[in-house]
């Protein structure tokens, strides 16, 4: 096999493994005040934003990297990373889609998100983040009519400083923990969404993240605010090209739901997981947190995690408003040498708050999959209610599946239920499917999809189909 064929062979495993030759503007390597000033300057940020970043950086110096997680990783040299990388052609920002670098658009077409077509046909507004910079936001006009703000974070800092000032860091404080603080100091872009009072967002909003350049970390920051009585459904997808070294992705996502508002946040994460021997891949250390600030508000997280060498995230809900609802639906699939330590935190502060956690973990190959979650019922959270179900599926005896729930209950009128099971695909199930004419792979895919169904149902239609396929692809060759 010559080199070219090998390359093609490799690409078969991870179809998003291409990289695009686009000239990049980069910040100098390393993490210091100069780099932060560089980022802030290049993004033409106001002084308050720079001060905020520097404050985070000061705080970061005192923080230590956490080390309690199950998947261990080699020490990251934070001075050996680029903290800013942007496609060069962005220097003169295009006014509309037609002015975009055609090569960029081609990349997005390969990813399956043809921006232009999507804008016209699908009715999904897409904000694509390429490396660290938001490239294009489609469908803007339509959203503007309703008063919805959907733009890149940098634009929001310039155009809507009052909203950003008010809400940025209100859910994930500046000094929260190491990676969140790192993000606060060096975040480059991300999406900003504001849904005004009483508006039901007419379409699904969507962001696509892609890490293209080498040795870059991606630190995006997303902030979604749903004002009183509004509704929004937000989708997020991620991919990265194949590289031998590990790349860091430390994003912060903050959601704020005011009275009677509802936010639905769905993620399909398919970062490059590394090759079969565990070389390369993305470290996905993300902080996601939602605040149900108002009465009767609701935040629902749905995630399908199939990629990344290490996934380490706990999308959480702080249920502050009375009668607020938090939901978490998750599928985490790990194969080969992938590792996942993921789950959620449900913090009940208000009265009559409800939360529901459904987590499905699937482990194959040499992978390790951990569900770690917290249900915390505070003293004043009368009649709080939680239901948690974590199921794990193991394929082979070289992988691991773990469940580490923390349950804290300080209120006697509350009710918590937790259950977890671990099992494998039984020979009877396989036999039955084989007997009906399905081959081994199809049978496994069918059974696994059935196992995940409760979560897949929560995804918006377009995503559900994609996710279903991903579930099948991720496990190819793991049983046989």
């Amino acid at each position: 096999m010559d080199a070219r064929e090998k390359e093609i062979e490799k690409l078969k495993d991870y179809k998003y493994g291409f990289s695009t030759d686009i000239e990049n503007t980069r910040a100098p390597k390393g993490l210091n005040e100069e780099v932060i000033k560089f980022i802030s300057n290049i993004k033409k940020e106001p002084q308050w934003m720079l001060d905020w970043r520097l404050k985070a950086f000061e705080r970061l110096k005192q923080l230590k990297e956490p080390n309690w997680q199950k998947p261990k990783y080699p020490k990251i040299d934070y001075q050996d990373l680029y903290y800013y990388s942007a496609p060069k052609s962005m220097d003169d920002k295009p006014k509309s889609l037609d002015e975009l670098d055609p090569k960029l658009l081609e990349t997005y077409n390969k990813l399956g998100i043809p921006l232009q077509e999507q804008a016209r046909l699908n009715g999904i507004a897409v904000d694509a983040v390429f490396d660290s910079v938001s490239v294009a936001t489609t469908f803007k006009g339509e959203l503007n009519k309703k008063g919805i703000i959907f733009c890149s974070m940098s634009e929001a800092i310039r155009e809507h400083p009052e909203l950003v000032k008010k809400y940025l860091g209100s859910v994930i404080p500046l000094s929260d923990h190491y990676f969140a603080t790192l993000n606060s100091a060096v975040f480059t872009d991300g999406s900003f969404v504001y849904i005004p009072e009483g508006v039901r967002c007419p379409m699904e909003l969507s962001t696509y993240f892609r890490i293209n350049a080498t040795e870059t970390g991606q630190f995006e920051r997303t902030l979604i605010i749903a004002d009183k009585g509004s509704y929004v459904s937000y989708l997020e997808g991620c991919t990265a090209p194949m590289r031998d070294e590990n790349q860091l992705h430390a994003a912060n996502v903050e959601l704020v739901a005011l009275d009677d508002a509802e936010i639905k946040y769905s993620t399909v994460q398919n970062w490059y997981p590394g090759d079969k021997d565990g070389k390369g891949g993305i470290y996905n250390f993300v902080t996601k947190r939602g605040l149900c600030k108002g009465k009767n508000s609701k935040i629902s997280w749905t995630q399908v995690e199939t990629g990344s060498a290490i996934t380490w995230k706990y999308p959480s809900c702080i249920l502050m408003g009375d009668n607020s609802v938090g939901e978490f639906y998750s599928i985490a699939i790990t194969n080969n040498h992938q590792k996942a330590d993921t789950g959620t935190k449900m913090i009940h502060l208000g009265k009559n708050t409800k939360s529901k956690i459904i987590s499905k973990g699937i482990s194959a190959g040499f992978a390790d999959n951990t569900y770690r979650g917290l249900v915390d019922i505070a003293k004043k959270a009368d009649n709080a209610r939680n239901f948690t179900q974590c199921d794990s599926l193991l394929m082979g005896n070289k992988c691991g599946a773990h469940t580490v729930p923390y349950i804290k209950n300080k209120n006697s009128s509350s009710n918590i239920e937790h259950e977890a099971t671990t099992s494998k695909i039984s020979d009877e199930q396989l036999f039955y499917c084989n007997q009906r004419g399905l081959n081994q792979e199809e049978a496994v895919s069918l059974i696994v999809n059935g196992f995940c169904k409760e979560v897949l149902q929560q995804l918006p239609m377009e995503f559900a189909v994609e996710a279903q396929k991903l579930v099948g692809i991720s496990l190819e060759g793991s049983v046989g």
Binding site: W68, K379, S392, L394, M395, G396, N397, K398, C399, G400, A401, H402, T403, V404, P405, Y406, I407, K408, N409, K410, N411, S412, S413, S414, N415, I416, E417, H418, E419, A420, T421, T422, S423, K424
Partner: protein, 413 residues
């Protein structure tokens, strides 16, 4: 810590120890000094900050006692059935009575130099290794079943104050032997720290039934660490009745080392006032076809706090494991708290493992039903609580001991 070093020297002087033993005690002492009493930054102690509990309840903790031992009050002894006795009085063995057993079949050792140090799993076990003043090992020989149960009385008297005492027992069950063991706490003392380490080695086909009863209200702070090793086809049954002390943490580490061994850990936590009790279990399935079962029921009143941390570990060799874990808690007053961490760590695929945890108040519908049958609100609640606890008590396989514990929670047949 100064007091600790002074007392440590006193302990060493008062005992006739070999050079080797003294050195190993020193090492253990250093380990404790380095880590101190565990605080909530230590993952296993997340919900119970022992360092803080000790410093807020005990002033000037001492680690050595030298007063005269008073007479034992035998009226508090169990009189429902005949039994063998080991009596610890304020941390010192004051009586050992195995008169109804064949003395060639049950061997007793009290020589401190024969004590092997326990594995230093945490700073409290190190402290125990460094400071124990009396030691007992009971060996039950092959094919021998004890005629009567053994009760280890742990008695403390009023004279004991602000002192840390360290107890240790080793139980060895040889092939096909069996033992019923009750650890009974009887405290009249106040504000002491009692640190107990017990090791159990259970050989092939042997059966251990161990019941821990801490039912007399007292203000002591206790930590009990049980390490259980199970060989082929052996059984260990544990029951923890946890209701007496101000603070107690019962930790059980159980290794299922060979095929067809099984472990059962059941328990009830029943608390009032500002009591704070924890049960922590660690079940390690290390061989094929092993089984474990846990059921913990907690009832919390007033300002009480209950904790259950349970972990099931399944090694990649341990196919066909069957592991089960259930914790249920009733929070009956607005200031109670229940924390749980039921954990699974699984590396084998052909296993059946599940756990469940619930916490909440009594079912209003059930109360309504009972009241509609003529019971008062209070009676209905009491009935439901007893029924709730009885679930776990019914798991006890020894009828005499089951009745004893039923009586203690106020259930009479």
């Amino acid at each position: 810590m100064e007091q600790l070093k002074v007392d440590f020297n006193k302990v060493i002087e008062s005992l006739k120890l070999s050079e080797k033993s003294i050195n190993s005690r020193k090492e253990n002492l250093n380990q404790f000094v380095e880590n101190g009493f565990p605080n909530k930054r230590v993952e296993d102690w997340k919900f119970s900050d022992l360092n803080q509990i000790i410093s807020s309840n005990i002033e000037n903790l001492r680690f050595h006692t030298d007063f005269e031992i008073s007479e034992i009050d035998e009226t508090t002894f169990i009189d429902k059935f005949a039994h063998n006795k080991i009596i610890f009085l304020n941390g010192v063995i004051s009586k050992v009575d195995f008169s109804s057993e064949d003395d060639t079949k049950v061997l007793i050792t009290r020589d401190l130099n024969q004590n092997e140090n326990s594995k230093e799993v945490n700073s409290l076990v190190s402290l125990n290794n460094a400071l124990i003043t009396s030691y007992i090992r009971v060996t039950v020989k092959e094919n021998y079943s004890m005629n009567e149960p053994l009760i280890i009385y742990n008695i403390t008297t009023k004279e004991l104050k602000s002192t840390a005492i360290n107890l240790k027992t080793d139980i060895v069950l040889e092939k096909n032997s069996s033992l019923k063991l009750i650890d009974l706490f009887d405290d009249s003392s106040e504000n002491n720290f009692i640190n107990i380490v017990q090791n159990f080695d259970i050989a092939q086909d042997a059966i251990l039934k161990n019941y821990k009863i801490d039912h007399k209200k007292n203000s002591n702070i206790k930590y009990s660490y049980n390490n259980i090793n199970l060989e082929k086809n052996s059984i260990s049954e544990n029951f923890i009745f946890s209701t007496g002390s101000k603070f107690i943490k019962n930790e059980i580490n159980c290794n299922l080392n060979d095929e067809y061994s099984s472990a059962f850990i059941n328990g009830i936590i029943n608390l009032t006032n500002s009591q704070h009790h924890e049960i922590k279990t660690n079940i390690n399935h290390l061989a094929e076809n092993t089984k474990s079962y846990q059921l913990i029921k907690s009832v919390l009143n007033e300002n009480a706090k209950g904790i259950y941390q349970g972990k099931i570990y399944v090694d990649s060799k341990a196919q066909k494991t069957n592991g089960y874990q259930l914790s249920k808690a009733l929070l009956l007053s607005e200031n109670t708290e229940f924390d749980g961490k039921p954990e699974l760590e699984i590396y084998a695929d052909d296993v059946k493992c599940s756990h469940g945890a619930t916490s909440g108040n009594l079912d209003e519908d059930a109360i309504f039903y009972l009241m509609s049958r003529g019971l008062s609100n209070q009676q209905s609640k009491e009935l439901l609580i007893k029924g709730f606890l009885l679930d776990a008590v019914e798991k006890i396989t020894d009828i005499e001991i089951k009745d004893l514990i039923k009586n203690m929670i106020g259930i009479t047949e």
